[in-house]
């Protein structure tokens, strides 16, 4: 264990060009390497799960054995040896929730380096005082996920007063089994796709949120994911249920330390919005993208889907994706309710050898349902960036409207931008619009900005932020600033 960590630290120091590529010296507890029914049983037992949960996992595992990885995306994915990875890693001696000063100082230092607005030591040391002192609008409840297990939860008391349940999913399985059983796998079924099925079998932890009827969640909910163990697949599972007339904004931010070996991340996020409910789900993703030659980096194969089940329900996805070696991700909305609304706002940046195949699916089933897709792809280096989206209108869905806009920005002449829209209209009353543009940062723009005083990298960052503005302005303030910085940092070195 100690040797492994030392090696990791040495590797991280050696490859220090990734600004947040460091690893923490924290004792890990690993599941045996490889994937089998025993692995699934180990995870379930480790988490003290009820029998129904183990059965659900095993069913998924057996399904997964019969499935094959999808190959339709415009991605070049090296073969993955699922037996050569760990499927569970937890920091030892998980601190009891609420007693936050027991959190491993090394973990707190990691968050500090990442600049996560968790109020680091300050807030973690004195949660109660800070809770009351902070202005209403600026509060963020953080369920900090370190590798696979939540180690710190803040603001719990106030959320409970509002009736909001905000738990790690492992806790929720034990504390709210009926709610979890009712909704788990209802939006993304166990058999949905290869990676979602794998997740169903081996998900390690994640977040569960329930907003009761008529409640407006009193603060932004935020979860930070970190991958910190060598060869550890990360399989997060998130389930958010917004009951009738409720409202919640959920923020997810990700950075990962530098690694030599590729790491698989196959998360599943399920959102359910009932009548008149609204969920806003925002992501800033900055996992290690691999080095300039394409060595290392995270494989991000994620299934995110929302069910707008109720009438007048609304789900809005916003994502800023700058990290990962390979991204396969299509946050989607099933618009079942009458007058339901789905939105997808995305900025995807690829540089060096990164590959991204990302977009959205809007499945219109309800009458008068509406959707908006705004996708901004930025490609640099020798990367490939694909927008892939589906807009489908069911035969009984009257008066559906969709507007899709896909813009691509190219830096340099060795990168690729691709747009692959699928439109399937089963009802003649639908109005579907699709606009797409491709542009390059022009020499005129660069020189103009530089003549006003900006150096080349600041000029590129400014122009790129302008290009992505429509999406960035959808982010809550806390993330908008971080995301703007991230775009600039991601593209450093992209102009010669």
């Amino acid at each position: 264990m100690a040797t492994q960590n030392l090696e990791a630290i040495a590797a991280a120091e050696k490859l220090s060009t990734y600004e947040w590529g460091f690893s923490s010296d924290i004792e890990q507890e690993f599941a045996p390497k490889g994937l089998s029914e025993d692995t699934v049983r180990f995870i379930s037992a480790k988490k003290g799960e009820p029998a129904w949960m183990l059965d659900w996992r095993l069913k998924a595992y057996r399904l997964w054995l019969t499935m094959e990885a999808p190959d339709w995306a415009k991605l070049n994915v090296p073969p993955i040896d699922y037996q050569d990875a760990f499927y569970y890693a937890a920091p030892k001696a998980k601190p009891k929730l609420g007693s936050l000063d027991e959190v491993d100082p090394e973990i707190l230092r990691t968050y500090e380096k990442l600049g996560i607005p968790i109020k680091e030591q300050k807030l973690l040391a004195g949660v109660v005082e800070d809770t009351d002192a902070m202005p209403q609008g600026r509060r963020i409840a953080v369920d900090a996920v370190f590798d696979s297990v939540s180690v710190a939860t803040t603001f719990r008391a106030e959320l409970e007063r509002a009736g909001v349940i905000f738990r790690s999913i492992s806790e929720a399985i034990k504390e709210y089994p009926d709610l979890v059983r009712k909704w788990l796998g209802k939006v993304v079924p166990q058999h949905d796709n290869y990676f979602a099925t794998l997740n169903a079998a081996v998900f390690s932890d994640g977040t569960f949120v329930y907003i009761p009827e008529g409640v407006r969640c009193p603060m932004e909910l935020s979860t930070y994911f970190r991958i910190n163990a060598e060869n550890t697949g990360q399989f997060e599972r998130t389930l958010i249920i917004a009951d009738k007339g409720s409202h919640v904004s959920y923020l997810e931010g990700c950075t990962a330390p530098q690694r030599d070996e590729n790491q698989l991340h196959a998360a599943v996020v399920e959102l359910v919005a009932l009548d008149d409910a609204e969920i806003k789900y925002s992501t800033v993703q900055n996992w290690y993208p691999g080095d300039a030659e394409g060595k290392g980096g995270i494989y991000n194969f994620v299934t995110k889907r929302a069910l707008c089940q109720g009438k007048n329900s609304k789900v809005s996805w916003t994502q800023v994706e700058t990290g990962s070696a390979i991204t396969w991700k299509y946050p989607s909305c099933v618009l079942a309710g009458e007058n339901s609304v789905g939105e997808f706002y995305s900025v995807a940046v690829t540089t060096n050898r990164q590959q991204a195949d990302t977009g959205s699916k809007m499945i219109h089933l309800g009458k008068n349902s509406r959707s908006t897709i705004v996708s901004k792809g930025i490609s640099a280096g020798r990367s490939d960036n694909t927008y892939r989206g589906l807009v489908r209108v069911g035969p009984t869905a009257e008066n559906v409207r969709n507007f899709t806009q896909c813009d691509s920005l190219l830096l340099g002449d060795q990168c690729g931008a691709h747009t692959v829209p699928y439109i399937e209209v089963g009802n003649p009353s639908a109005q579907i619009e699709h606009e797409a543009t491709t542009s390059k940062i022009s020499d005129d723009q660069l020189f103009y900005a530089m003549q006003r005083g900006l150096d080349a990298e600041a000029a590129v960052a400014l122009i790129v932020n302008g290009f992505a503005r429509e999406v960035l302005k959808q982010l809550p303030m806390e993330f908008a600033v971080e995301a703007q910085k991230l775009l600039g940092i991601s593209l450093e070195g992209s102009v010669g």
Partner: protein, 250 residues
């Protein structure tokens, strides 16, 4: 302030500037006139440091420092402002954001403290008012959807906010109606007509010079300054055209 000696420059492998010598002192306004293709814009771009414009011989110093060694943003921070003939659009970036970042980047290079948002907006509004640019234009994306006149007024607002030592204005008067022309002239006079500042006005026509009286007028033809004089030279050119000037091909 600016000393150009025997400057030769080429772009796309073609020699454009063929030995320009020009000295501009503080407090002076110089006008460079000349026919199309004489190298007027090339001179502006070369002094601004635009990539693709290669100096092949000669020198240029700015306040004693070697201008040609500096990156474009370093020239800006040193106090050189280039007014563009075709101001460039930057979608999604507001005028205010653009100028604040630019100005603070210059201040940082000079070792000065950055301006706060409030300080900056005060300055920006004052300049916009002075130049007759609607304050709402400051919030709009840089030059996007601006008319030709608005773009040129916007260049003047930028010049006012940045407050350079030397402004090189490349055909700032082209395509302007009389009101915009007056506004641009007013901008140049109020911002730059000062003992410690200087202007190099590049223009094809004499009409801007009705509003900004130059101290010196130079005629540029085929990459060389073929004649220099006072303000009266501009009137002569307006009357008789460039053809009569030595070195200008008929």
């Amino acid at each position: 302030m600016l000393n150009i000696t025997n400057l030769h420059a080429e772009t796309a492998g073609k020699a454009i500037l063929k030995g320009i010598t020009l000295a501009i002192n503080p407090g002076e306004i110089h006008a460079i006139m000349g026919p199309n293709g004489a190298g007027k814009s090339t001179l502006a771009y070369t002094l601004g440091g635009r990539p693709g414009y290669e100096v092949t011989a000669g020198s240029a110093t700015f306040d004693g420092a070697d201008l040609l060694e500096m990156e474009p943003h370093e020239r800006a921070a040193a106090g050189l402002f280039l007014g563009f003939q075709y101001p460039v659009e930057i979608p999604g970036v507001s005028n205010l954001q653009f100028l604040r970042e630019a100005l603070n980047a210059q201040r940082k290079q000079r070792g000065e403290e950055p301006l706060s948002g409030a300080e900056f907006i005060k300055i920006a509004r004052a300049e916009a008012t002075s130049l007759g640019l609607d304050h709402e234009m400051l919030k709009r994306p840089v030059n996007v959807g601006f008319s030709g006149g608005e773009k040129k007024r916007n260049e003047m607002v930028q010049m006012g906010i940045i407050a350079p030592k030397l402004a090189i204005l490349d055909e700032t008067d082209s395509g302007l109606d009389i009101d915009a022309l007056k506004a641009v002239g007013h901008g140049i006079n109020t911002i730059m007509r000062k003992p410690d500042k200087a202007v190099l006005l590049i223009t094809h026509y004499q009409r801007l010079l009705d509003y900004v009286k130059p101290d010196f007028v130079h005629v540029l033809a085929d990459g060389r300054i073929v004649r220099s004089g006072g303000a009266e030279l501009a009137h002569e050119l307006e009357r008789e055209g460039y053809v009569g000037i030595d070195g200008v091909a008929a």
